[in-house]
């Protein structure tokens, strides 16, 4: 009971700022658009300037309001960033209120307090790209520091600034209802420090974008650039504005340079807003797709379609669904291929789907687009059958893959062993026999010189035996493994095969190129066994053809007889190939990538 209460208390905790700020932002925007007069404020606001300036002014402010509302809709749990966007909108419109001659003094004073917030808010939004979270410690520190500094500056200035005494005042030289005591020198010093801070923050923001983009994965970059690039432009414009202000005070919205810089800032904000909006719209689409998919997948879909459906629905083309094997020791995709989960690219998240405390699948998706929490809760429950189907199939396929690899390894190990045997025969037994044969010759010569006729005859016979043993051993070694295959390739080995065959072998074609050793050995074994079978079956000749066709090597042996060639089928299968046998042709197709 207790726990339920606590949860509920947290869930319905007064989310005052989260509700209030966006609502106030909407009100401020509406008031600005409908209450503030369109003319007469040319010297004190940018918003009353040319059509272009008015356009960008409105677009940036309304865009920020829109982002705040969109965040509320798509990412309700990200309260901070929603508040920041709302504050940014209020601060953006505040500059118009400050310069609104004839407005209530309170409104102008509040505007003066809010106005500097724009910088901190935009920096916060850009640094929190793409999903509204400040991921690294440095960015968190920068943002917190910036907010604190902004607070100190704007509140401090409100307390000590007397607009009448401000040498550089331009937009509001009359009202400050918050002033406690007029300290023009302190107010000016605050302004100067703020100006320097603006220049530095602008530079830092301009530099942040290329660094962050450069260190991001391609996938993350796809989303990030739309926010970071306009963010960098905003930073650069901010720095330029600060620098110009140092040289030419007071500020003048009718001055071409100030006006241009204001427009650049405005368009940069519009850019950031569009980037955020685009990301949010994609995320919302993904959200709807996941929810809908959860419904659709109630029936059992074809295996392998889950990842495709999710990728299509969410608009994340690289989305992958993988399944744990051996209790999470390794992961495989729907086709059973092993996937390395420990290295998920930057900007991607691996979200486990858990059922009854057991991890049944992991969805690897773009962090900014697909909501991990939603995936966890909705997919797990509704798409259970689909996931279960795919998981079982993936397991079987993975086992099949393991088996295939093991088969290939067995064959390869057998070949290596044969090759070692062949070498050992040459280096060991054959050398000994050669030495023996040499000693026999010497003994033979000695016996003949000594005139021992019986011994001479006997040694002659022994010598012949030794010579035959050497020849037999040579044939045996060649039968165990043809060394020429490794050293000179298929062509030479097949020619030798034809030279020693019991029946004529016609060559149609043998490519000169070298193939991977397992492929060459398999081709040789197929040819040798087929020729042997043909000779045994009493065939009068065979026709042999080896050809490469793209990613495949094909061996045709015409006249090999009907088989069966089970051992050859095994051997060919071990390297992932297939053997076809009919009454005329034995054909082996081997992959050779």
């Amino acid at each position: 009971m207790m726990r339920v209460d606590v949860t509920r208390a947290q869930g319905s905790a007064p989310d005052l700022a989260g509700v209030l700020v966006p609502v106030v932002a909407v009100a401020v925007a509406t008031a600005t658009l409908f209450l503030v007069p369109r003319s007469g404020l040319e010297a004190t606001t940018y918003g009353s300037g040319s059509v272009n300036v008015q356009l960008v002014d409105g677009a940036a402010g309304l865009g920020l309001v829109g982002v705040s509302l969109l965040l509320w809709l798509v990412r309700p749990q990200r309260r901070a960033v929603r508040v920041v966007a709302g504050l940014a909108a209020c601060a953006w419109f505040a500059s118009t209120w400050v310069g609104w001659l004839g407005a209530p003094p309170v409104a102008r004073s509040v505007g003066m307090v809010l106005e500097p917030i724009v910088v901190a808010a935009v920096v916060h939004l850009v640094l929190a790209a793409p999903d509204g979270r400040l991921r690294t410690r440095p960015t968190r520190l920068v943002v917190v520091g910036l907010w604190a500094a902004t607070g100190v500056y704007t509140i401090g200035r409100a307390l000590v600034r007397d607009p009448f005494l401000d040498l550089y005042c331009w937009s509001n030289c009359e009202d400050n209802v918050f002033a406690v005591s007029a300290r023009p020198d302190l107010a000016r010093r605050l302004d100067d420090v703020w100006l320097v801070a603006t220049v530095v923050v602008g530079l830092a923001l301009a530099a942040f974008a290329p660094v962050r983009l450069g260190s991001s994965s391609t996938v993350a970059r796809r989303t990030l650039w739309s926010i970071l690039v306009p963010g960098a432009v905003f930073g650069a414009a901010l720095t330029a504005y600060g620098a110009v202000l140092v040289l030419r005070r007071p500020e003048d919205p009718q001055d071409a340079v100030f006006s241009s810089l204001y427009q650049v800032r405005g368009w940069a904000v519009v850019g950031v807003v569009c980037g955020l909006g685009w990301t949010l719209v994609r995320a919302q689409r993904a959200r709807v797709a996941v929810a809908q998919l959860a419904d659709d997948l109630g029936a059992a879909p074809a295996p392998g379609s889950l990842a495709a459906a999710l990728a299509h629905g969410t608009g994340d083309p690289d989305l992958a669904v993988v399944y744990p094997l051996e209790g999470g020791e390794r992961y495989v995709d729907a086709a059973g291929a092993t996937v390395e989960l420990r290295r998920v690219a930057d900007g991607r998240t691996a979200t486990p789907i858990v059922r009854n405390g057991e991890e049944i699948a992991v969805v690897v998706h773009e962090s900014a687009i697909v909501d991990a929490e939603q995936l966890r809760t909705q997919i797990g429950a509704a798409a259970r059958l689909a996931i279960e189907n795919e998981r079982l199939r993936a397991q079987v396929l993975a086992q099949l893959g393991d088996l295939r690899a093991s088969r290939a390894r067995v064959v390869e190990a057998g070949d290596d062993e044969r090759r070692r045997l062949e070498r050992n025969l040459h280096d060991g037994a054959q050398q000994q026999l050669l030495a023996l044969s040499y000693e026999l010759r010497l003994a033979h010569a000695g016996a003949r010189a000594g005139g021992d006729r019986e011994l001479t005859t006997r040694l002659e016979t022994t010598e012949t035996c030794a010579t035959e043993a050497i020849a037999d051993l040579r044939d045996l070694a060649h039968g165990i493994y043809p060394a020429v295959l490794t050293e000179s390739g298929l062509g030479a080995a097949l020619w030798t095969l034809a030279d020693t065959a019991q029946i004529p072998v016609d060559f149609d074609h043998v490519p000169d190129e070298r193939f991977p050793p397992p492929v060459e050995r398999t081709v040789f074994v197929v040819a040798a066994d087929a020729i042997r079978a043909a000779a045994l079956a009493g065939g009068d000749h065979v026709e042999l053809r080896v050809a490469r066709d793209g990613e495949r090597v094909t061996v045709d042996v015409r006249g090999a007889g009907p088989g069966p060639f089970l051992h050859l089928a095994d051997r060919v299968g071990a390297v992932g190939g297939r053997l076809h046998v009919d009454e005329y042709v034995l054909r082996a197709e081997l992959p050779c990538g």
Binding site: Q431, Y438, I470, A483, V484, S488, T496, D499
Partner: protein, 217 residues
Amino acid sequence: MRVVVAEDVMLTRVGIVRLLTEAGYDVVGEAEDLAGLMRCVMSTRPDVVVVDIRMPPSHTDEGIVAAQRVRAEHDDIGVLVLSQYVEPAYAMRVIEDHPERVGYLLKDRVFDVAILVDALRRIADGECVIDPMIVARLVGRRRRTDPLAVLTGREREVLGLLAEGLSNVAIASRLFVTERTVEAHSKQIFQKLGILGDPASNRRVLAVLAYLRSSTA
């Protein structure tokens, strides 16, 4: 005659050296691998090198590589490759680039002093030496129709000796005919079989081997 022996199996190397010494050759150097052989050849400048086809490090075709390198770098030094493989492909590689003063002999023949002495003498004379067993295997291959059927018995004999690398003079003395007769025979053989190339050049051995190897049917 000054000889260098390269063979990594000690037993066989000692045997060959003993055999050569007893036959009156001057063994001026011994080597166990390709690099050692090349150094030895440079320092001793022998007349002939006797080299095993398989040597360290890879124990595959170092002997063939050695033969090609010695022949390419030293025109006056002959090479005899000893092999345990009846592989025409290897023999052809040995004589491919420099078809004179080289030979490919099966190891088990070497201990017949007469054959070894004969081979070394022929190599020193500028001929090439192909083991008769290689030639026999090529000629003896089973074919549906024998392309050599167009040859007379004597021509087949000449063809075989020619393929073994014998010179016209050597063939003539082997068959008890004149050199002119052998020349006529070889010209006739090349014409009948359609072998491209000059029957009098030193590349004729390769041409004949290639013909015997490639002719199908």
